[in-house]
């Protein structure tokens, strides 16, 4: 078997299944990836699997030629030098500001009386930029685990987080107060590979455009 032309960074987690379905549809063999969830590198088919937030790192450095990850990740890491090629349409979710249900909104109340609200998030830069753009003073508290816990314990008044269905928020008594951005899966490429492997990348883009699940929602 010849070495595949492109190395593709594939996100594990919520985007994995639809990513593998799309790769199957465009002719990349994914059976081994599906059957082995401990292995990370599949050299025969040119697939490497990783956390979605690591995809831009590998693609920027050229360790993978192309990759698939969420727009939320790309926005949080907007200094990465990668080419954003295609909106793949699947994995839709929203970046939201949520607080404990009930009136008055505890975050607005903290801002009004104390001059600053505390906000827990895994998306430090998106949150900081959003409060700067909307002219509000916020102290961003970066957490690694379940963000929903933070307002329930009094650590913060609000959270900025990603939600697809809103179920986890509801179960924890939180309500969405504002929508910051929407996100879907994107195909990205290394800028050097984009030029030196242009034919292979253009073919992949054309096939994915044809086989992506549905017309993406225009943000």
């Amino acid at each position: 078997m010849t070495r595949p032309e492109l190395t593709i960074a594939v996100p594990r987690g919520a985007l994995l299944r639809e990513t593998l379905d799309l790769l199957d549809a465009v002719g990349v063999e994914t059976a081994e990836v599906r059957s082995n969830d401990r292995k990370l590198l599949f050299g025969d088919v040119g697939i490497v699997t990783m956390r979605p937030s690591d995809v831009p790192t590998y693609v920027e450095a050229g360790a993978a030629d192309v990759g698939i990850t969420g727009k939320d990740v790309l926005t949080e890491q907007d200094e990465r030098e990668v080419v954003e090629l295609l909106d793949l349409g699947y994995g839709p979710c929203r970046m939201i500001l949520a607080t404990v249900a009930g009136e008055p909104d505890p975050a607005a109340e903290a801002l009004r009386r104390l001059g600053v609200m505390r906000v827990a998030t895994k998306y430090y830069r998106i949150a900081a930029r959003y409060f700067e753009e909307t002219g509000r003073q916020a102290e961003i508290v970066e957490v690694k685990g379940s963000v929903e816990l933070a307002p329930l314990t009094g650590l913060v008044e609000a959270i900025v987080d990603l939600t697809a269905t809103g179920t986890t928020l509801r179960e924890n008594g939180l309500v969405i107060r504002e929508e910051i951005m929407t996100s879907t899966a994107r195909l990205i490429a290394n800028p050097v590979a984009h030029k030196l492997k242009s034919a292979a990348i253009d073919t992949l883009v054309a096939r994915m455009r044809e086989h992506r699940p549905a017309a993406p929602v225009v943000a």
């Binding site: 050229g62 990668v82 080419v83 954003e84 800028p191 050097v192 030029k195 242009s198």
Partner: protein, 313 residues
């Protein structure tokens, strides 16, 4: 004892230094053969002189002198050399040829191949218009890379005036232009496509900047820019033209480019080794209007690509 050094700087010790020296000496000889005289300029300049270049890259490090003037570490060498030409060669007969090996400073996120203090090697050819000036610069560039021993490199060639001309052709409203240029500069083709669709603009505004490859991609466009790129290709010697891949979406970060622009790419490295282009308006901002072209290579990245090629061989 551990004594820290500033973020984005690093020490070079003798084993690495010998390899870097071999690279710069080979390039220096290549520049010398083409009569590009080497210059030094101050590492630190007055900030308003650097800003006159309108590079779009702000100096990252500033200090005050004993009179309260703001001085800054240069973010590149092209603007200092434009200053030298305007002040020290005010009446000299063009063309003028200069080369340099100099450190420049930018407030980037430091990573392998791009520190905040970095060594550039480059040339400036002043007073030689396109296409023949561009042909000479590309030829010298390939001679320097060959002298260093780099094997697999390619030159991505495009034009800084191509996309603005395309927006003229399709009557893109003034208020949308900045958005499209910003999307292109960020290499965000999803945003470019969304914006073009939203404003009901021609599909060519999405398609053309994604054209990459051999001379055939020039068939996809009409107008002066395609003619200009064809004229360059026609005059290049074979050992240079065989290295060229066209990239009609090439957008270089610096604001002073006016015509042909190029990036040096190597399969062994995920980012360009350097690049350059035409800056026909820059000298005018310093009071001596002349067309010019030049390039700069990151010596560290050249070293990484060479090491990568050696390991792959």
């Amino acid at each position: 004892m551990i004594h820290p050094i500033p973020n984005g700087t690093r020490d070079v010790l003798p084993d690495e230094m010998r390899e870097l020296r071999a690279i710069t000496e080979a390039m220096r000889a290549a520049f010398e053969r083409r009569e590009y005289g080497e210059v030094w300029t101050p590492t630190i300049e007055f900030e308003d002189v650097l800003r006159r270049g309108e590079t779009g890259v702000d100096p990252a490090y500033r200090v005050f002198d004993d009179h309260g003037h703001v001085m800054a570490l240069r973010p590149d060498m092209t603007v200092p050399i434009a200053r030298v030409v305007a002040t020290r060669y005010a009446t000299a007969e063009p063309p003028l040829r200069f080369s340099y090996f100099a450190h420049a400073y930018r407030g980037v996120r430091p990573h392998r191949g791009q520190m905040r203090e970095f060594l550039q090697a480059g040339v400036e050819l002043v007073g030689a218009p396109g296409p023949h000036g561009t042909v000479e610069a590309l030829t010298v560039l390939c001679e320097a890379l060959d002298a260093v021993g780099l094997k697999g490199y390619r030159i991505a060639l495009g034009s800084a005036s191509l996309y603005p001309a395309l927006m003229d052709t399709f009557d893109v409203p003034v208020e949308v232009r900045e958005t499209l240029l910003a999307a292109l500069a960020a290499r965000d083709f999803v945003k470019l496509e969304t914006q073009v669709r939203r404003h009901g603009l021609d599909d060519a505004l999405v398609r053309v900047p994604q054209l990459r490859g051999g001379a055939a991609v020039l068939d996809g466009i009409t107008g002066g820019e395609a003619g200009g790129l064809r004229a360059i290709l026609a005059d290049l010697p074979e050992h240079v033209s065989s290295r060229i891949v066209f990239d009609l979406g090439l957008a270089r970060g610096l604001g002073y480019y006016t015509g042909a622009v190029f990036d040096v790419l190597d399969p062994e490295l995920g980012e360009p080794l350097g690049g350059g282009g035409r800056y026909d308006d820059l000298l005018g901002r310093f009071g001596r209007p002349m067309p010019a072209v030049g390039f700069a290579l990151h010596v560290d990245r050249l070293h990484l690509a060479l090491a990568g090629e050696e390991a792959a061989a």
